[in-house]
């Protein structure tokens, strides 16, 4: 009885925060004293107005997560996992990789990684994982507090690392871990693989019912699949606006605006955000407004962002009249989403989630990159060799060679890490970039 009352009180508290408290706080913060604007390169165009709504949306998501605990089941989810299966059970979903990126952008990576290292996690391990484990040991986070999960939900379609990492969390928290195991596509996907994945979805449902104490609602599930598809397609349209010269946004904007499709996929809020962003970008295109003032060269980015260098790189490239107009990373949340089909949600999700770039062979990646280079009229390629991400990075040296040979565009590899700046050498990166700039400007 006491337990029920507590749960009811938490539900009311959450609902009040969602409908009244959090929007009020957002308004209050919006009205309050503004931080002085950060120094921006004069080479950059006007910032997107949707940046503000993005900040509010994500701040609200993090704020509400604190009240979700106890009010609803909470799941920590890997960025590539088929979250649609969780939504009918009303899980509040939290994305440690998104949190890791946020810590990286706020330059907290080394501090949090060091916390994990003190507990025996080697510096060679993925820094998203070390940040997350560092948070577990220290409670440190730039967002105040993270909700304790009831469930860990992972898919190895992006890497095996997330499973090793979530296994460790499951051990610390003594909570269940559900894995969506996606066979790697060494060749073409086949019926055996699809049937295995569909079978897994069906096996998950009773487990999710048990953990969430809610029944599975198939119709609701179909609606969510539909919403996820629409949001991802809209995200794809957002990215496609960068095909125009001058591009209305840069890949650094896209890295930021990626957050809702990763963290809020299957929710109406994500779709609404991308509709607003798309409208703004179309308006920019109609008025010839570019993200940088003098776009002379158009570039492609390969791999996850170097989160702690976003601003520096944004300014550096803009000052050289270079604009990143496409990236394999941002494209990953729209590339396979066309497979989603509300009429066949399990089968279509199996395809959409197992055919993603990192679960596919390198030939597929080469073809994808060639297509993007052509479609976005790319003049040069910057490859981030990310120490944290082996499935993204192993093969990049050969990709670089092949793209240079086949397309004749300048390419450069920067050795760095996604969030741990201790693995980045400014001098070494600049030497390589200067050589790249010279070739491009040739």
């Amino acid at each position: 009885m006491v337990k029920r009352l507590m749960s009811l009180s938490k539900k009311i508290k959450y609902r009040l925060m969602k409908d009244v408290g959090a929007p009020g706080i957002m308004r209050f913060l919006g009205m309050g004293k503004k931080r002085p604007p950060r120094k921006k390169s004069p080479s950059l165009g006007p910032p997107l107005t949707c940046n503000r709504s993005l900040k509010e949306l994500m701040a609200m998501h993090y704020l509400l997560s604190r009240y979700a605990q106890g009010a609803m089941p909470v799941a920590w989810v890997t960025s590539g996992a088929p979250v649609e299966i969780l939504r009918p059970f009303d899980f509040y979903t939290f994305y440690p990789e998104n949190h890791g990126a946020l810590c990286g952008a706020q330059k907290m990576g080394p501090e949090l990684c060091a916390e994990a290292e003190e507990h025996g996690y080697h510096q060679d391990l993925c820094s998203y994982a070390r940040i997350d484990l560092g948070h577990y040991f220290s409670g440190k986070t730039p967002v105040g507090r993270l909700p304790k999960p009831d469930l860990l939900f992972a898919s190895n379609n992006i890497c095996q690392t997330v499973v090793y990492w979530y296994k460790a969390l499951a051990e610390y928290w003594k909570i269940p871990l559900i894995l969506f195991d996606t066979p790697y596509n060494f060749g073409e996907i086949n019926e055996v693989d699809i049937s295995y994945m569909v079978h897994q979805f069906k096996e998950m449902i009773p487990l999710l019912e048990q953990i969430s104490k809610r029944r599975f609602r198939y119709k609701r599930f179909q609606e969510i699949v539909g919403l996820a598809k629409e949001a991802s397609l809209t995200w794809g349209e957002v990215l496609s606006t960068m095909k125009v010269r001058p591009s209305p946004m840069t890949i650094f904007d896209a890295f930021m605006h990626l957050a809702p499709i990763v963290s809020l996929r299957g929710l109406l809020a994500a779709l609404e955000h991308y509709r607003a962003l798309l409208a703004e970008l179309k308006d920019r295109v109609a008025h010839g407004v570019g993200a940088i003032k003098n776009e002379r060269w158009r570039l492609m980015w390969d791999n996850i962002a170097i989160w702690y260098k976003m601003r520096d790189f944004s300014n550096l490239f803009a000052e050289r009249s270079m604009n990143f107009v496409t990236a394999t990373y941002t494209n990953a949340w729209t590339e396979t989403i066309g497979y989603l089909d509300e009429a066949k949600p399990f089968e279509s999700m199996a395809k959409a989630y197992s055919l993603v770039i990192l679960n596919n062979n390198l030939n597929h990646r080469l073809q994808l990159m060639e297509r993007l280079i052509q479609e976005f009229q790319v003049d040069g390629l910057v490859i981030h060799s990310a120490r944290s991400c082996k499935p993204y990075s192993v093969g990049q040296y050969d990709l670089k060679k092949l793209i240079t040979e086949r397309l004749g565009i300048p390419t450069v590899v920067i050795e760095a890490d996604i969030t741990d700046s201790r693995a980045y050498s400014e001098e070494q990166a600049m030497v390589r970039l200067e050589a790249f700039f010279e070739t491009l400007e040739g």
Binding site: Y164, N190, G395
Partner: protein
Amino acid sequence: MTELYPPSRIEYLLRQREVYGRHLFGVFPAQYPREILCAMNILPVEIWDPPLDTSHADAHLQPYICSIVKLGLELIIQGKGGILDGFLFPHTCDSIQNLSSIVNDYLKPGKPCYFFYYPKWPYRESSRHFYIDQIKSLAVRLGEQFGALDYPRFKQYVEKGQKVASVMRELYSLRARGGLNASNVEFYRTVRQGEFLHPDDLIPLLEKFLAESQGTPRNDTSVILSGVLPNPPEILALLDELKIRVGDDDLLACGRRYLVPPSQSQDPFEALAERYFQMPPCTTRNSPIRERLEDLINKIEGSNARGVIFCMIKFCEPELFDLPHLIEGLKKKGLPILVVEVEPNQGLTGQLTTRIEAFGEMIR
């Protein structure tokens, strides 16, 4: 005991081809249905730690990739695998996954490359179906080049595999009890012959080794070895010198693959599935860490070990992620632990030698 072993790996392999018409396949670590290959007259030759310098592989792989992956690629680039008729890449980790694609899609070695995916923990009914489907699918794909799988022959090889496992269990058990009169170097040299010997040669070799090594129980101090490989071999020699017996191991290349209980199934596909799901816990199958810890503790108790040595290959993510939990769990039991970072073929530094000697002194 030297007459037990073939004079050299290469001579043995050439003979396999010339005398028995066997196809030779380079197989990357770690889990795969060996019996399917043997039944199709393909001899798996595992590629773990070829003694090569990785200068060519460094042009394809970043400095933060482990040396097992680099050595395997080096072998292909240098053409040292010239006698091989194809390659098999099991889905062991992210690096081997991408290596398979570098080789197949970019380097194109002019030999067929096959991939084998196995289901990852947590296991469910779907995992079992999928594993059997995967073995059958591998047989079909190999069959396109090497002829269809002969069922009775396959069954025979599964029985031979069971025999290998049975002798391995006996060897490990005898060693754990201190009744094996062989050095650490000799033990692992013998066990690792399983990486390339045909079962018809491996079984008598293991049986002979077992018969010749049964002796009076040894009272040496015992330790458990954990990691990927019992490398560099100098570690084993040093432990022998220090009179420390490896009482049992939790090595990916050895105990984690060989120590499987006998299968009850009459169907060879079912028997292989049974074996896969009953293998000792392993990082490459995503086994839960608590199961690994329990398994280690059982090994410690079963071999009266006084400590655990973790031989960590640099940049090996699957192993490194489990390590903090395992250390914490073993420390709670009051067990001494030594963690050493090693490269398969780079010998022991003076510092490492001193650390192992100090550890030996401590646990004695």
